[in-house]
Amino acid sequence: MEKGEFEKKWGDAFEGAEVSPSDSVWTNIELDLERAAGSKMKRRMLFYKLLAAASLVFAMGIGAVYYLQVTPEGNKNSLATQHETQGVEESPEKPVAANTESNPFGDSEISSAAPGLSATIDNFQADNEPLLADANRSDRVRIEHQSSTESQSRTEHKSPGLQAANHQQNKTPGNENDRGNNALAEQNIASTLDDSGVRNDQTIGKANQELVAMDDNKILDNRKLPPLTLLKNPELIIAKKENESTADPGMVLLAKLRDEEMKYEKEEKKKSQREELWTSVAFGAGTFSPNAGSSSMIQASDIHGLSSSHVNSPSSGSSYSFGVQLGGKIANRVVLVGGVSYLTQNASYMSNIASMESMNLKAELNDMAYFSTNNRAVTTSPYNVSSNLQYISVPTQIGYVVVDRKFAIQLNGGVSSDIFILNTLTPDAADVSKSSQGPGNDSPYRPVLFSGLAGTEFSYRFSDKYRVALNPGVRYALNSMYKDGVSTEASPITYDVAIRFRYIFK
């Protein structure tokens, strides 16, 4: 059926048609949206509750099974069942070997199942040596039924094992009713007869009487028994796979779901607060140690034969930096930060040399290094001199964001290329004037000093666009601040704390 004018006219009839719905529609939509948001959470909670309940039921089920299998009652039941099965199959018709070791169940099993019966067996064998000897001569002995009401009534007041002995005596091929309740006892008696090859009601009765005075532990000790039988409360040991978790699978699932939930929330939060690119201004202050490894004191004999008093080694000072940085996220938790900063390092020294320029004494450091390059140096009385090193630092750092939230922790590490600008020496002496040394061939300072950087940045985001950070860190010179030709070395260490104000572009 093709579409024709009819359909076209109907279609056109509704072009631009509008009907206002009642105000209640939007109210209901709002309610539905709120309800949907709420029910989503409710569904989650319900699911968790159901999962927790299911886990509890599962745990209780496992516990019940464990209890039934491990407790003495459980053991008895299970052993009785086992012996019942074996006894039905084997005891009545099975040819009995004359040798006691040929007992198909083993003495130990008998003892473990019914210690009282073991006593019966022992006494039975002891009291009936001649009889047993006769029995041993027979190749096969069949169990015969001899009823003894008197014996049965007597043994009912004794141990279950003894009752079982009487039940065994009452047993006929056609009388199977006793098997169910006394299967264990029946089997034990059957085993007794297997060992001895002879069954004697009177002997059993006698044995039962003697059993009352017997010590179970003694019986067990006298026989070779498997370790399990020596335990009063044997435990069920289930072989476990090596890597199998022992945790409740329901709880594991619950934990996983919670993790997923948190992960989802984190991702959602991150989406709204992502920091991909930012710039920051930083101001840092800290302590500076020149760390001069082999700085030597100038001795009088080193310089024109002049004498010199003792001079102290360079002491520690302070460091200040100011700069701008540009940072960006290069992986989920990895950031790359670069920038440029002005770095000034101050230290106080004691010096006893100065350079002579146009009849003026200018401050010099007491470094052999510099001295070796400065033929105009002369010794002076010791004086304090303040050294001010200035660098343009170009740091490049990789950061790993340990905590990525409003409050963030970031571990930074990297290198910095520190371009030497100037060293100013300000003496604390009236006859020695200030001096400056820039980079150049005649400068003992290396034009570019490479430093390793390490630090931890603690930051707080206080709006969508701003974050303030505190960054304690260390700067360690990877090479000497002096040139290679200089005999002394100095690899300054700076411990500082920088405050950074970060502006987040996106």
């Binding site: 059926m1 009819f6 279609g11 009839a13 509704f14 719905p21 939509i29």
Partner: protein
Amino acid sequence: MLDEKELIERCRKGSRAAQRALYDLFSKKMMVVCLRYARSTVEAEDMLQEGFVRVFQSLDGFRQDAKLETWMTRIMVNIALTHHRKKLYLFPMVDIEKIDHQEAPEGLARLHFTELIAMIQSLPQGCQIVFNLFAIEGYSHKEISDMLGISVGTSKSQYARARVILQEKLKAESKQYKAYGEGRI
């Protein structure tokens, strides 16, 4: 005023104000769509409400290259079909004799769209849906048969029946109109 793209973006972020703005922008048009599929205004408003909730919840899946109105109309139609589908199971469509009328609808242009909606609402339910889907939404009978889980023949027959009924209604309206014009009413 926000453009459509930004409005959608804000709706996606859950801004209630943006959702309200989007609702104000399209609710009247969507109400007409719902009215065509509903049997009453109340039912249409129920569809509209459900449809807009679905729209807000599904905006993440909306592709910007598609037309928003078309996308929303499709959602409304789906909601309407969901509403009717239960009833359609209770009253299965039956194939009727194929009738093919090619004549143009008489007097359609004279009627207000609300009267046309009333006519459509008066159609048997199956005919109403198939008529809307085929004549107004522009679906083919094959598509309709897939959407409703019926045979193509059933779709065609239901549509033919709808056409006959509507033609008769239009003729009746036309006669009444003429009579009114001639002063007999």
